[in-house]
């Protein structure tokens, strides 16, 4: 099968952990142990998130205005593609991947009129308390918002426009045909807009990697979209004592509004998009159970 795997940026850095290179590379090696076996029998495209990483680079990039002005999010997103692509490629090889691994710098075209530019919703970077968040917002011109219930944890939020087109799609397909596993569209792809002459220009945003993975899976004619995260399955009555994993969901029965934005919401939206467009299943589950999730013995299958 040809599969497109979406891997959360949080899989590389758990909430509350210090964003050290060594800690992230440790998580990357764990992820690679789960993912490498998939390359033995499948054509694999891997699309990783970058929320914690791009946010950290944004803080560091803006910390000393005497050195340079902060770099825009398209450029910082490109930096995270290089860094995480390198870590993953090296770790997949180390974990015994049966194919060579190629990490490709990837741009994603978005619509300059996307309403998301006026309504930032994507959380990036470190967690602050409310007072710290207010100071960072004032100092850097950020928008900040509470991340999660209770209003204890605040983070920077940035626009997350919908992915419209993957610029390097043909190169991804070509690398797959050549037998490589391909890491691409990290952080949802570097967000760019296209002018009337076909020229591309970066924009200050972070695309949702689950939606980009769904678009990639559609355009690459993939057999499965595989959304890997830190929960074992989509849960019914999530957040209540009656919460229970759902093994199988018909796409017609999906109700995105039941899933909070920023966590399961975009994953469900991505699955709905892929299954609706292709009639093929999407699966959601825990990174550590990747093979079982793909085999249908763990996680949630979303079917036509």
């Amino acid at each position: 099968m040809r599969i497109v795997v979406a891997l959360g940026g949080n899989a590389l850095l758990e909430r509350g952990e210090r964003p050290e290179a060594g800690i992230q590379q440790h998580h990357v090696r764990q992820a690679a142990e789960a993912l490498a076996p998939l390359t033995a029998t499948h054509e694999v495209v891997l699309c990783h998130g970058n929320g914690p990483q791009v946010g950290l680079l944004a803080v560091q990039s803006g910390a000393d205005p005497d050195l340079a002005h902060p770099y825009p999010l398209d450029t910082l997103g490109a930096q995270t593609q290089g860094m995480i692509g390198y870590w993953l490629a090296q770790a997949l090889r180390g974990a015994g991947a049966r194919r060579p691994v190629a990490a490709l710098v990837t741009q994603t075209v978005v619509d300059p009129d996307d309403g998301a530019f006026a309504h930032p919703t994507k959380f990036i970077g470190p967690v602050y308390d409310e007072a710290q968040a207010a100071r960072m917002a004032a100092r850097h011109g950020w928008t900040v918002a509470p991340d999660g219930p209770g209003g204890q944890a605040w983070r920077r939020v940035v626009p997350s426009p919908r992915p419209v087109r993957i610029v390097e799609l043909e190169q991804v397909a070509h690398l797959l045909r050549g037998g490589a596993a391909v890491i691409c569209a990290g952080g949802g792809g570097i967000p760019v807009v296209e002018d009337g002459n076909g020229r591309l220009c970066g924009v200050d945003a972070v695309v949702d990697k689950d939606l980009t993975a769904a678009l990639l899976a559609q355009r690459l004619d993939a057999d499965r979209l595989v959304v890997l995260t830190d929960v074992p399955a989509v849960m019914s009555e999530f957040g209540t004592p009656r919460a229970a994993p759902i093994a199988r969901l018909r796409v017609a029965d999906l109700d995105e509004s039941r899933f909070p934005a920023g966590s399961m919401g975009p994953k469900i939206a991505a699955c709905r998009q892929f299954v609706g467009a292709t009639g093929r299943p999407a699966v959601v589950g825990a990174l550590g159970q990747a093979a079982a999730v793909l085999a249908g013995t763990a996680g949630t299958a979303i079917v036509p």
Copy 2:
């Protein structure tokens, strides 16, 4: 023809300029205007430097120890591959490149016993005066050295081991066969060492991109190595009033000791390696004259 182009990191940021994203992207667009025409008739592999960029990221990465420890140079080099690869790919397309452009994250195997690890020589990052340099060295554990004559300008120096093998060579070749222009091995490639089991591990170094370009050109069976820089040609009696451009040099007549380390020295060494190994010419010249340098009407040709 199949050509491998080495492009200096200084082409993206002139000495003394602030390392702003906008300034570098401006230079990248100028470089792309010179390079895009080559893609009309040639298979092009582009290998860029990253000295100013990886050094800036190292300063920013280490600036706030409460946030995170400084990331190692392999990881920071990977970040620069994403960033510069993105800038170049976008600009080449904007400048009318006749092929799709693919930027590939690339690892370069080096020898852990390379003497360079004990003798750092590669300049990276900002220029300091002697007192600032001493303070930065004490604070961050850097080695610093005067860059250029007079001892006015000091910079951090890091080990620059010789490139031994390009890990993603087959993927580069495959992308070329598919018709893409390929940006790869940025910053000379992310430096890694190989253990007895074939596992790769990053090391704290910056490889010389001219030597990596020469290795790439050899292994890809390229027809020309094209070394582009900010001087119009190799000069005889460089630095004297009698300095004059040399149009053609036999590899047997090359004397690397006449060219200072850190600038023309590694370029000459790279040309000697390629010409010696393949019997094909290497050319050296100004980025703005790229097409003329390749055609042999500008710059210096180094021949068997």
